[in-house]
């Protein structure tokens, strides 16, 4: 096992635990920092999570809808390129619709990925 992953997990884990635990020692009175700087910090922290997920979504989509798969489909007209691009669009649409229908991250994720797999199998 890489020592780097172990140290990383321990340090981030300890920090995250303290974020969750320490405020219980301080009570309910310290719910949010007030004042100008406190508001800015709250706004920053409230948006970092959704921003990270946005960036991770785009990064995870690059092998599916980035330049390479489009080039493979349109430039070289390969079946695999077309299957990747079309199945990705099917998978994303299925995920979106399933989330709107059931409001469940687990259901939308699993069935969205399954829809991608089926579409890819039919096209490739």
């Amino acid at each position: 096992m890489s020592l780097e992953v172990l140290i990383f997990s321990l340090v981030v884990g300890a920090g995250t635990y303290l974020f969750r635990y320490l405020p219980t020692r301080l009570g309910a009175t310290v719910s949010r920092p007030s004042g100008g700087l406190g508001r800015l910090l709250n706004g920053f922290l409230a948006s970092v999570g959704v921003s990270a997920v946005t960036a991770l979504l785009l990064a995870s989509l690059l092998p599916y809808l980035g330049l390479e798969p489009w080039r493979a489909w349109l430039g070289a007209a390969t079946t695999e390129g077309r299957a990747t691009v079309v199945a990705s669009l099917v998978g994303l649409a299925a995920t979106l619709l399933l989330f709107r229908w059931r409001r469940s991250v687990a259901v939308a994720t699993l069935l969205g990925a399954a829809a991608y797999g089926v579409a890819w199998w039919l096209l490739a």
């Binding site: 921003s51 960036a55 990705s88 991608y116």
Partner: protein, 221 residues
């Protein structure tokens, strides 16, 4: 609890990114914070400096600071913190949301015992799911290409679902800024830089929205 399937997709992603089963299990055992663990995979596999990766994850998880105070405030005089050292470990986004729901439910009172049970159940599902996923993602399905393709697509499907679950009108500017930051960073530097620049710009956009809201509030008579 939807933890098990999401943990399986984390394990699969870790396996596909080249992490061993033990490394994936360590991330889930110690960090135990869903979305930020996916960020850890991207940063560590992308070769980002260790300190920068630690700081990025801590910045992403710092929102957990407000969960316990918000829960204790919702419970009022019914709040107990004797065993908070134990249950606070499991105070993730979803557990926090469930606990707030319980605090508002007059028929089923919140207790430290209930909270500990909920947290331990979710933690067990998260760690077990990670191990199962890492075993699958390590190449068990390479012979079944359609299944392997579907396992690979778990990641974009999960991020899209998480984004939809987190999105509110107030966050739209942050999402746009994060997308622009990612595109710039990925085009000119690397994928890892794109993720970090996207997080930073999105956070700054969120801060500017908060500042503008405060100014409007102050200006109101």
């Amino acid at each position: 609890m939807a933890y098990f399937p999401v943990a399986v997709s984390f394990g699969v992603a870790a396996g596909k990114a080249g992490f061993t089963l033990a490394e994936a299990a360590f991330l889930s055992l110690f960090i135990y914070a869903g979305a930020s663990q996916f960020l850890a995979l991207a940063l560590l596999a992308g070769g980002a400096p260790l300190l920068l990766s630690v700081l990025s994850l801590l910045a992403m998880n710092a929102r957990h600071l407000i969960y316990a105070p918000a829960l204790l405030a919702a419970l009022g005089p019914r709040a107990e913190v004797k065993r908070a050292w134990l249950w606070s470990f499991g105070l993730t986004d979803e557990v926090f949301a469930s606990a707030l729901g319980r605090a508002a439910d007059p028929d089923h009172p919140w207790s430290e015992r209930w909270m500990t049970g909920l947290g331990l159940g979710a933690y067990a599902a998260w760690v077990t799911g990670t191990v199962v996923g890492a075993a699958l993602g390590g190449g068990a399905f390479e012979r079944f290409r359609a299944v392997d393709a579907a396992l690979g697509f778990l990641l974009p499907a999960l991020f899209l679902s998480l984004l939809l679950a987190m999105l509110s009108r107030r966050q739209l500017l942050a999402v746009a800024a994060a997308a622009a930051g990612f595109a710039l960073g990925a085009a000119f530097f690397s994928l890892t830089s794109g993720i970090l620049i996207g997080m930073l710009l999105g956070g700054l956009a969120g801060a500017s929205v908060a500042a503008r809201a405060a100014r409007t509030e102050e200006a109101a008579p």
